[in-house]
């Protein structure tokens, strides 16, 4: 009955060639950095004041309220604190309160206590190091890593997720290629933390260079393996990685089936925090998309402005009409109002993608042109996407490719009708907002937007009930 199961994903053209083959460029000396705290900024204890001189890696803020305590922020350059209430756009699309630091271009390091022998330290000490280094998930969710390893029991496998299923993004690919030893070292540390016997690095099929290099690196350890997962979207989703590497499934969190997942860049950050004592101050960012003149991967300090990176890539194309500035991948990323925002720890890519146009019926044109226009023979232009929304013909593509196995188009109609009972029956809460339904829709309907609204409506109604 495999035929009638919902497909686990869809192959999306990667468009990674532009950046995957270029080695990353270091950009570690921005003039100013902005360390983002939060939208209001009141839930952080700021440990510095304007005029203070800070060193690279110095603790400058600590979260005192809310979930995930204590989340620590560090200065990612050395220099003088200019302002502690600067407002800058965050990569999530909201203005955040930031600490602005002026660079003195010396990179004076704080005192560090590297750990060279893992056997001599306790797990609790390691956890404290990771907590103090302020390491969060670098894949995109930004979940504090120490919480995952807080009270582990019955964990037998740690999986490093290097699938990177979003098109355009190659930062994880480059990090695996350039810092293979760090990736594996981080995995060893994480395995020790979780008391896990097995370590798995999951990468996409067809990346031979990385596969070979990871195998070479892992050959020193007999309990680390490299697993290839299919080149599909969303193969990098936690559930799918766990299912495709171990054939296990779980209800809410991966630790239920004895697995902890981390991104490969998180592993590198953990390795740096433990071996060098260096907190989370830098990350890899892909700057790519059709609207970027010279796509490239960068190793940057957290808090760098995106405009600096776009300038390094020779700017945005100005012959393409409207562009979309997207943080993250093109499938799940957010499109921002400005091109100036702060590089945060969650940001894996800055993309400038061609905008879309509403279709307009051609008037006063020769008959031949009208026919060609209406039949969309001019549609396949890489520089823009013509959105010609038409009624749903129930082709079933969204149902076929939905990775969560729900029926997006039925949810869409229930969402428009605000039918709460129907939404509940259709399991709307299982939606992961991956955007596959809008991507495949031949009628160019924004299915995922309607589903998102339905999900929010359903969640609000359920909250009221409780």
């Amino acid at each position: 009955m495999k035929l009638f199961k919902a497909k686990k994903g869809i192959h999306i053209p990667g468009k990674k060639d532009g950046t995957a083959k270029l080695s990353s460029i270091e950009f570690l000396s921005p003039e100013y950095v902005y360390i983002p705290l939060s939208v209001k900024g009141t839930d952080f204890d700021v440990l510095v004041k304007p005029g203070d001189i800070v060193k690279l890696g110095q603790k400058i803020a600590q979260r005192s309220k809310g979930k995930g305590l204590p989340l620590v922020k560090h200065a990612s350059i050395s220099g003088e604190v200019v302002n502690i209430k600067e407002r800058k756009m965050h990569s999530s699309g909201l203005p955040y309160v930031c600490i602005q630091i002026k660079n003195d271009f010396k990179d004076t390091l704080v005192e560090v206590t590297p750990v060279s022998n893992l056997d001599k330290v306790e797990n609790s000490q390691l956890l404290e190091i990771i907590k103090e280094a302020g390491i969060v998930g670098l894949g995109g969710a930004g979940f504090p890593t120490f919480l995952k390893y807080g009270n582990v029991k019955d964990i037998d496998t740690v999986i490093l997720n290097g699938a990177e299923c979003e098109p355009y993004l190659t930062s994880d690919y480059r990090i695996m290629l350039e810092q293979t030893d760090r990736v594996i070292d981080g995995l060893v540390i994480l395995m020790k933390l979780a008391n896990a016997k097995k370590g798995i690095i999951a990468i996409k099929k067809g990346k031979k260079e990385v596969y070979k290099q990871l195998l070479d690196g892992a050959s020193k350890f007999n309990n680390i393996s490299v697993v290839e997962i299919p080149d599909e979207f969303p193969a990098g989703w936690e559930r799918q990685v766990v299912y495709r590497t171990l054939k296990r499934s779980y209800e809410n969190f991966p630790f239920e089936c004895g697995v902890i997942l981390n991104n490969v860049s998180t592993s590198v950050a953990v390795s740096k925090a433990v071996r060098d004592g260096l907190p989370l101050v830098e990350r890899f960012v892909t700057v790519s998309g059709e609207g970027i003149i010279r796509p490239q991967n960068y190793r940057v300090r957290i808090g760098t402005l995106s405009t600096d990176l776009i300038k390094l890539s020779e700017g945005l194309a100005d012959d393409m009409g409207e562009l979309r500035i997207v943080t993250g991948g093109p499938m799940m990323g957010t499109s921002l109002k400005t091109e100036e925002f702060v590089v945060t720890s969650e940001l894996s890519g800055i993309l400038a993608l061609p905008g879309e146009h509403k279709y307009e019926t051609p008037h006063n044109k020769p008959v031949g042109d009208v026919i060609l226009d209406v039949l969309h023979f001019s549609e396949h232009d890489d520089r823009f996407f013509m959105r010609d929304e038409q009624p749903c013909v129930r082709c079933g593509n969204c149902v076929k490719y939905c990775p969560a196995g729900i029926q997006p188009t039925l949810i869409r109609s229930a969402s428009i009708a605000k039918d709460e009972i129907m939404l509940d029956k259709l399991d709307v809460s299982k939606c992961i907002s991956c955007g596959t339904c809008s991507y495949v829709c031949p009628s160019h309907i924004q299915v995922s937007e309607a589903v998102k609204k339905g999900k929010a409506y359903h969640a609000a109604k359920n909250r009221n009930k409780k």
Partner: protein, 393 residues
């Protein structure tokens, strides 16, 4: 300065469109219309002994029926969109309206399901009913409950039963005394009783290849089995249709009719030299190649708007289509069951969607119960048909 656009994710699109998706149907059906006209000409000149000029008359008549069918559907859609929906007022608007509501595809499917002798005024009435009653009053593309082409066909079948009964008759068009010329095979089979013996099958139709290439009186497109199979392969490879729907539908009809043939000892045992009569194979082949089964299964049962949205639902849909078609053909009074089985099952699409609602996670218990029930129904209908239909007529 570059302008920045804000929009919701995803920011890319696969680039497929309903136009591309719908373009495959004209490719297969419009070529089929040309083949149909050609086969009509060859059929009357080779098998019915008509002269060349009579053959041309038949070909022109076939072309007229097809043209009128398509034209009436486009006219109906144009009138509705112009005066009821007020969608357009110039050529480009009209063309876009026609390109996004697809009356040409509905019209061609409708025209190909008509027999050659259908009076043209009936063709026009059927076309208007197909578009307006079948689709437009429900709200246009994507909102229709029934397959529009079949609504038009069913309407004229019932309303003009006498005129359409004579429509497969070539005797009005050409001078012939051939027994084959006056009625479609399924009608003849129904006259002879449901269990057609191998002798009468062979006496009337000669070889199975005649059925395969459409050299027998029937609706214009429905008889072209070879072309429909080619279309099926093309559409399946392009993923325009779900290949398993026609396969389940036709395969199950084949199995059920074969069981009837086996139980009634219509065939010869395996020990004898292999012919079509071996194990009664000719009966299921006859049932698949004649009538609208292939045509309906490939072009009508797979129409996305009027079939369930989940793949499992579509499989179940195909199974019930097969059961109803079999029941109407073998047990009922009507010679042809495909038309009504598809219309009947279109009614159940919302129920099937409702059944498969929610996350598909493994196979649910109620699903197993439903499948067991379905297969029991199929087995029960087959068993009843096989035992109740007496001996060879």
């Amino acid at each position: 300065m570059t302008k920045i656009q804000v929009g919701s994710h995803p920011h890319i699109h696969s680039g497929n469109s309903t136009h591309k998706y719908m373009l495959d149907l004209p490719i297969t059906t419009y070529s089929m219309a040309i083949v149909a006209i050609l086969i009509q000409f060859l059929f009357v000149t080779i098998y019915l002994g008509a002269s060349f000029s009579e053959g041309i008359i038949v070909a022109i008549q076939a072309a007229l029926v097809i043209f009128t069918g398509v034209f009436s559907c486009i006219a109906a859609e144009s009138i509705w969109n112009r005066y009821v929906n007020k969608e357009y007022n110039d050529f480009s608007g009209w063309f876009r309206s026609m390109a996004t509501t697809y009356p040409s595809i509905t019209g061609m499917l409708y025209a190909l399901s008509l027999p050659i002798g259908t009076p043209l005024y009936i063709v026009i009435i059927g076309g208007f009913v197909a578009i307006i009653i079948g689709k437009s009053i429900f709200g246009g593309v994507g909102n229709n409950i029934f397959n529009p082409a079949l609504v038009g066909r069913a309407f004229i079948t019932i309303a003009y039963a006498t005129a359409l009964g004579k429509a497969v008759d070539y005797t009005g068009l050409i001078q012939t005394t051939d027994a084959i010329a006056s009625a479609s095979p399924l009608v003849k089979a129904a006259q002879e009783g449901a269990l057609l013996s191998y002798e009468s099958f062979k006496n009337i139709y000669g070889s199975v290849w005649k059925l395969f290439f459409g050299f027998y009186p029937s609706a214009l497109g429905e008889s072209l089995s070879f072309w429909i199979i080619l279309s099926f392969i093309y559409l399946s490879i392009k993923k325009t249709i779900d290949w398993f729907v026609p396969v389940i539908y036709i395969g199950l009809v084949f199995v059920m009719v074969w069981v009837v043939a086996l139980v009634n000892n219509l065939g010869t045992p395996l020990s004898e030299p292999f012919t079509l009569q071996t194990l009664g194979l000719y009966l299921p082949i006859f049932h698949i190649l004649t009538g609208g089964l292939l045509f309906g299964a490939v072009f009508m049962a797979t129409e996305p708007v009027t079939s369930p949205i989940t793949r499992r639902g579509r499989a179940l849909f195909a199974v019930y289509l097969a059961v109803i078609t079999f029941a109407i053909r073998i047990l009922g009074n009507l010679p042809e069951g495909v038309l009504y089985s598809i219309l009947f099952m279109n009614l159940f699409v919302p129920i099937m969607d409702r059944f498969y609602m929610g996350q598909t996670k493994g196979i649910k218990r109620k699903e197993i119960i439903l499948w067991i029930f379905t297969l029991l129904v199929a087995a029960g209908v087959t068993a009843y048909a096989a035992t109740s239909l007496g001996g060879v007529s």
